[in-house]
Symmetry: none
Subunit: 392 residues, 2 copies
């Protein structure tokens, strides 16, 4: 259902007053709706655990109408949940109490359509020539196959990804941590202009809003949510790109990382991801990215059907899921034996499956949840099988 | 049980007559024993599915006695299953019907001891500087921590691995696809000499035997079986190194691969391994290799961190453990001298250590058990844990 005029004004106002991803605010908005929530903030009503004073102060100066009018003059439109252009993928954020109240969008492409087939390509600002080359190549390859490239307009990998998509005349979506009218970083003014002209710049922040450090991390959840999967090209350990990858995994999106020389500290974050996350998949080409996100991308486009979590599992985790008995619980060691894998790897995979509610630990060991049983019966995605060479 | 003289002659003969890893021969030898098997081959008895004619022809010229004598003159000894020096890891090959009938060995190091802590480092002949550097670095790191490095003496990664171990004054083991006296490839004559002088060259093939193409692939199973894990450093897709990795996985050894630039075809085999094999682990440093194959790996699944018996020892007992020789037994008096402690105190400490299975009393004095060696080499338990950032 498309948002009514009153709700649009309220959502524009919320985007002005609140910072995204504050759990107390998110839950309150979900409980009472945006119109009532704005009312409550204006009159300083108690909102569980939130310092309403600050919000109330902001609300004094805020006007949804004014932001809508100003945006309109800038060619920026407000997308609200339920709008035809609203990407259903953003609704998945509710499971993390990190709802997106609305998105300001600038550019000729409808966001919902553009994200039906979208991959996020992200990475470090301090990229090497190697990383820049790989990011541009991947993005161009995705664009050539009509996949949108989502990224954050940052220096380094992000910019290379946007540029690679543009070079292939594809659609690229920049998700900003400042107003959708603010070309940040300034050095990317012409890149920003090019994206606005052919693709899409989106943001939760009202027009004119400045980028703030905390906003980048919160913004990353949108990059992850808008794409069927996130590819990290180069990343220092603990980088923002790793946070995007984590969001992607938490939202049951594909997590992918590009390897690089072990001698490069800027590939270290990618290698760490591949070592730490059982669901992270090593990718080296566009084909490998699409092999992973392809079928799921088609599937996720349908607003009605639930995405099969099973399709989102990597081969290791999937193998462990297959080894968990359907009916009763089994100890870790037995599951490892069944899977033919090392206990440590199985333990990590079970932990990942538990996060996805597919298995649960009981007194008697690991058991399959109801959801796990459902998913287990889902047909595995088609994949080429390696030619078996025999023991020699 | 150590092999008797008759069996040794028969095994030497089998190594001369048969090609390793032929299932029919392997099963027959296992069923009737080596002595009877040689008899059967000589008289052309039916051996299920094997072309006995060729073997019989070879048997006409073969003499186990002659090979043993010739080897002895070359300083090459025959290791048979059950010998004190026989590495128990080779017995795992039986599960694949790929038994090793015996090994010719040249070099001062006892093979069984050297392979108690051994990692295979293998890869392409056509290595890049990157691969050569990583292989040498990994091998040196392993050697520095008293791990043996197993490889195949080939050009490229193999040679870099051997050289890295030698540079760190470590033990390295070359497994050849030709006679243990044959320095192949010829360009590796001096490398071969250095390994023979300080480490070990081993082969299933009789002295003087030439390398053959098929023998390299069959040889790879020995490299895999002799090590706790195999690290593939650089490999073209479908390379021999990948076959070694597959053998390692089939033998329930750790399979590891070093990533590299996705733009390098010589890292493509490693990336393919990491993508295709659920049990393959991406490694970038010696620490990561040892985390997997080392004693700590056995405990990695425990959330509480590794518990080492060593940690339970008081400083006095611990000091005595450090004074017990790693390789052979020593009398009480010598251990007391090494520890710089009174004999009575050392005797009490040794008794305590024996209760913990860390040392054992033998005819030649006190010796370290396998467990004792593990505990002695165990890395300290504290490890940096990744800082958790929460959802942002």
């Amino acid at each position: 259902m498309t948002a009514g005029a009153q709700e649009r004004v309220a959502r524009a106002c919320l985007l002005r007053i609140t910072e995204p991803g504050v759990v107390g605010v998110v839950r309150h908005v979900r409980a009472v709706g945006p119109v009532q929530a704005v009312e409550d903030i204006r009159r300083g009503a108690a909102i569980g655990g939130v310092d309403v004073g600050g919000l109330q102060q902001r609300a004094l100066d805020a006007s949804g109408d004014r932001d809508l009018e100003a945006s309109d003059r800038l060619g920026i439109r407000l997308l609200c949940p339920g709008d035809p252009e609203w990407p259903t993928g953003l609704d998945d954020l509710a499971a993390r109490d990190a709802d997106c109240f609305g998105l300001w969008a600038r550019g000729p492409v409808p966001l919902g359509l553009a994200t039906e087939r979208a991959v996020a390509v992200v990475g470090t600002r301090a990229a090497t020539d190697y990383g820049l080359g790989v990011a541009a190549e991947l993005a161009a390859g995705l664009a050539e196959r009509d996949w949108s490239v989502v990224s954050g307009l940052a220096f380094g990998i992000d910019a290379a990804a946007h540029r690679g998509a543009l070079a292939a005349r594809g659609t690229t979506i920049a998700v900003l941590a400042c107003g959708a009218d603010v070309a940040y970083p300034r050095g990317h003014r012409s890149l920003y202009d090019e994206i606005v002209a052919t693709g899409l710049v989106v943001s939760e922040h009202p027009p004119g809003a400045a980028p703030q450090r905390s906003r980048f991390l919160v913004r990353n959840r949108l990059i992850a949510a808008l794409a069927a999967g996130t590819v990290v090209v180069e990343a220092a350990p603990r980088s923002g790109a790793r946070s995007t990858a984590r969001h992607a995994g938490d939202l049951f999106r594909h997590v992918m990382a590009v390897p690089g020389p072990v001698t490069s500290t800027l590939s270290a974050g990618c290698h760490q991801l591949l070592r730490d996350r059982p669901d992270a998949v090593l990718v080296t080409t566009t084909d490998e990215v699409l092999e992973l996100v392809g079928p799921m991308g088609e599937f996720a486009a349908r607003a009605s059907g639930p995405v099969r979590r099973r399709d989102l599992l990597g081969p290791t985790v999937s193998r462990v899921l297959d080894a968990v008995p359907v009916v009763r619980a089994a100890p870790l060691s037995r599951i490892a034996t069944t899977a033919g894998m090392r206990v440590e790897a199985v333990a990590a995979a079970l932990a990942a499956l538990a996060v996805h509610d597919l298995v649960a630990e009981t007194d008697a060991g690991w058991a399959m949840t109801r959801l796990g049983r459902q998913e287990r019966h889902a047909a595995p995605p088609d994949r080429d099988r390696e030619l078996e060479l025999g023991w020699w």
